[in-house]
């Protein structure tokens, strides 16, 4: 069966101008001397997306994932290479792009569908579906400029998913809207998956990628640095995130570790580790010492994170690292035993470690935990694993914001007394 999307050696080259000269005078004055930097947003990207597959593109800001999606969508032209897409493509880069504020919802549905290449008679057939999906009801004949942002988004999504696309390209849009709308979006995406449509998904959110994608590619500085199932790809991404440096050096390290014999192999967690010496992360678990039965944490409560491990043989000079992520995948906290000023560990073939936090000063949220082992002498990563949604913090409603802080209040040099 032919692939839905074939990406063949695609590169995209941008010129970053330090000054933007768009007037004739400036162009003449600075002709051929406009200072710019060459910048490769994508370099020799090749992969296929099979029919009915949901593929994620993950990476940091500026990794090129959105540029690649725009190229697949034919909004940008690659500088070289070719992309072949089969069937009707609906790109959701921004919901409601192309809505005209002066026109009514009804007129905008037709205009937007025409922009996506759908015939008017097909829109007629689906019109009621679109309106009911958007939940706009009688407001459909109002001018779009009077819509709330939620209404706007719902209508945009309703049009995009109801144009019967064979290939759906989604860029972060599911991150908007209220919970109810998000659930609807995911239901729709799952419906598309059941129907065997092809989806390419760009997202920052590891949770979304894990939930939706069959496979994912990790991009960094315009090159693919890893691929695998969604959890594998997220591990690779996190690993690079933890390193916080350019991936090129990372690949080099990994290839050195692997004996430089697989120059074209993509890095995965395993290739880098010499088989004879390895520490594996086992079970990651959490406990709430203050409220053991509650199953969640109150702001400022203590927290214990335990990890079991096993090693291929007793190893000395091992560092253990930990990261805590919020729902958006941002690192809330991260450290390792070296940063903590501790001696490198000696590990036996199995054992358990415990991170004990006297207080977790966050207000609320769902948090994921990642724990890994590296070698103290060369920073070589033995293993690195995630525990998603490891713990939940529920606000007690006594403060707002993100952090739980404990200020004291002093009035004219004297502490204000507590209520009894």
């Amino acid at each position: 069966m032919p692939a839905a999307i074939e990406i063949d050696n695609v590169s995209k080259h941008f010129r970053l101008y330090h000054e933007k000269y768009t007037s004739l005078k400036e162009r003449v004055i600075h002709f051929n001397r406009i200072p710019y930097e060459e910048f490769w947003a994508l370099k020799n990207i090749s992969f296929d997306v099979n029919w009915g597959e949901t593929v994620g593109l993950v990476g940091h800001n500026g990794s090129g994932k959105s540029t690649l999606l725009k190229c697949i969508a034919a909004i940008l032209q690659p500088t070289s290479g070719e992309i072949r897409v089969r069937g009707r493509v609906a790109a959701m880069l921004e919901l409601g792009a192309g809505f005209h504020p002066e026109l009514s919802g009804r007129e905008n549905i037709y205009l937007n569908a025409a922009l996506l290449g759908v015939a008017k008679k097909d829109v007629d057939l689906r019109f009621d579906d679109i309106v009911s999906f958007s939940e706009l009801g009688p407001f459909i004949d109002n001018q779009v400029r009077y819509y709330s942002s939620g209404m706007y988004t719902r209508l945009g999504f309703a049009v995009a998913v109801n144009v019967d696309p064979d290939v759906l390209l989604v860029d972060e849009v599911l991150a908007v809207g209220d919970e109810n709308f998000q659930r609807k979006c995911f239901d729709k995406v799952e419906e598309f998956q059941r129907e065997g449509r092809t989806i390419v998904f760009v997202s920052h959110s590891p949770d979304v990628v894990r939930r939706v994608c069959d496979r994912a590619y990790v991009l960094d500085h315009g090159v693919i640095v890893g691929e695998g199932t969604a959890p594998e790809a997220i591990s690779i991404l996190r690993e690079f995130q933890a390193k916080g440096s350019g991936l090129a050096s990372m690949i080099a390290t990994m290839q050195d570790d692997a004996g430089s014999n697989e120059s074209d192999a993509l890095p995965t967690l395993q290739t880098g580790s010499p088989a004879e010496e390895r520490v594996m992360v086992g079970q990651i678990s959490v406990a709430f010492p203050a409220t053991p039965a509650a199953g969640h944490l109150s702001p400022g409560d203590p927290l214990t994170i335990r990890v079991s491990y096993n090693a291929t043989k007793p190893i000395s000079g091992v560092l253990v690292g930990i990261q805590i992520f919020d729902q958006k995948g941002d690192i809330v906290f991260g450290t390792d035993s070296d940063f903590m000023g501790l001696e490198p560990l000696d590990v036996g073939t199995e054992g358990e470690l415990e991170f004990s936090f006297p207080t977790v000063p966050v207000t609320d949220g769902l948090f994921s935990v990642a724990i890994g082992f590296t070698s103290a002498k060369d920073q070589h990563i033995y293993d690195w694993q995630n525990q998603d949604l490891a713990f939940k913090v529920i606000s007690n409603g006594k403060s707002g914001g993100y952090l739980k802080l404990d200020p004291r209040l002093i009035q004219n040099g004297e502490a204000v007394p507590f209520k009894d």
């Binding site: 032919p2 768009t22 089969r86 069937g87 025409a114 922009l115 996506l116 019967d164």
Partner: protein
């Protein structure tokens, strides 16, 4: 949730795949493919034209009446200025003027709105994939609708003043209109792309259009200049401007007065006495030139389009 899919099951999808059109995204897309893409999106063109029309007079009380009032007021003003103040003795000068002005209004509206259209529609150009030439063509389309509305004013004026058109030339009018639309489309596509990179284009166009207007026999009769150029065998210069031929066709067919006798007994020439065959040949030349320009414009557009999303 309602089932909105037309796909019954996976096997049906499988059997369909081979037949699906393949969209190729690459820096090398030929003119023919571009034309095909425009054709596939022809309904978008209609929607865009409709949008332009709706928006132009949205929230105005008179709405479409404005596009009828515009030529009507021109008629009145030019009648007063030329016939009452400047004592131009040309018979039915207002009708003569309107014939050329209609053509010019179309041409100038189409080009000035097409020049800025890609920039003004940056929002969708950056976010939605569709043949962007449609934007420029929609400007031409909207101008064409206004032209047709204004043509109603002209027809009304012809009836009021009981002007008898030259029936032997009347069939040339649609032909001239076709040439005009074709020529305007070619320029519109090129200008819309150039303006993305050189924003001066839109300001420059205002001046160019002003000069072009006076270089075309709209306010003054063709022979005023034509006679002098003909003496020096330079008449071809006048026809380097394709709009001249088109305006002449409209004037010849609808106004149809070649010359007039002054009160002092002096004959003033107005329009050339070319035969219908001459007009056909000239219009064919314009159409051929426009075709070449159109292909050229598509090629230029294709080269420039690749970076629209970044430049905007």
């Amino acid at each position: 949730m309602e089932k909105t899919s037309s796909f019954p099951d996976k096997d049906a999808v499988r059997s369909r795949i081979e037949d699906l059109p393949i969209r190729v995204v690459s820096p090398k897309i030929g003119v023919f493919t571009r034309l095909q893409n425009i054709w596939v999106f022809r309904e978008l063109l209609v929607s865009m034209v409709r949008k332009e029309l709706r928006i132009k007079y949205k929230n105005s009380v008179l709405g479409f009446m404005w596009s009828l009032l515009n030529p009507a007021l021109y008629l009145v003003i030019y009648y007063i200025v030329f016939q009452k103040i400047l004592k131009n003795n040309m018979p039915l000068f207002a009708i003569f003027l309107l014939c050329g002005l209609l053509v010019w209004n179309f041409f100038s509206n189409a080009l000035s709105s097409a020049t800025t259209t890609v920039v003004n529609n940056a929002g969708i150009v950056k976010k939605v994939a569709f043949p962007r030439e449609i934007l420029a063509l929609a400007s031409v389309g909207a101008a064409l609708i206004f032209f047709l509305l204004q043509a109603c004013v002209l027809i009304l004026a012809l009836m009021v003043f009981q002007v008898v058109p030259a029936f032997g030339y009347l069939w040339l009018v649609p032909f001239a209109l076709l040439a005009l639309v074709f020529f305007a489309s070619a320029l519109a596509i090129a200008l819309s792309a150039i303006n993305v990179y050189l924003r001066d284009t839109q300001h420059l166009m205002e001046l160019v259009l002003l000069a072009w207007f006076w270089g075309t026999p709209i306010v003054y009769p063709f022979q005023e200049i034509g006679v002098r150029l003909a003496q020096k065998h330079l008449i071809f210069l006048y026809f380097l401007n394709p709009v001249t031929v088109i305006v002449l066709t409209f004037q010849r067919a609808l106004y149809a007065k070649m010359s007039y006798l002054d009160t002092s007994g002096k004959v003033t020439l107005l329009l050339p006495t070319y035969s219908p065959e001459w007009f056909v040949i000239q219009l064919l030349i314009v159409i051929c030139v426009s075709a070449v320009l159109f292909i050229g414009a598509l090629m230029l557009f294709g080269r420039l389009e690749g970076n629209f999303a970044e430049e905007l």
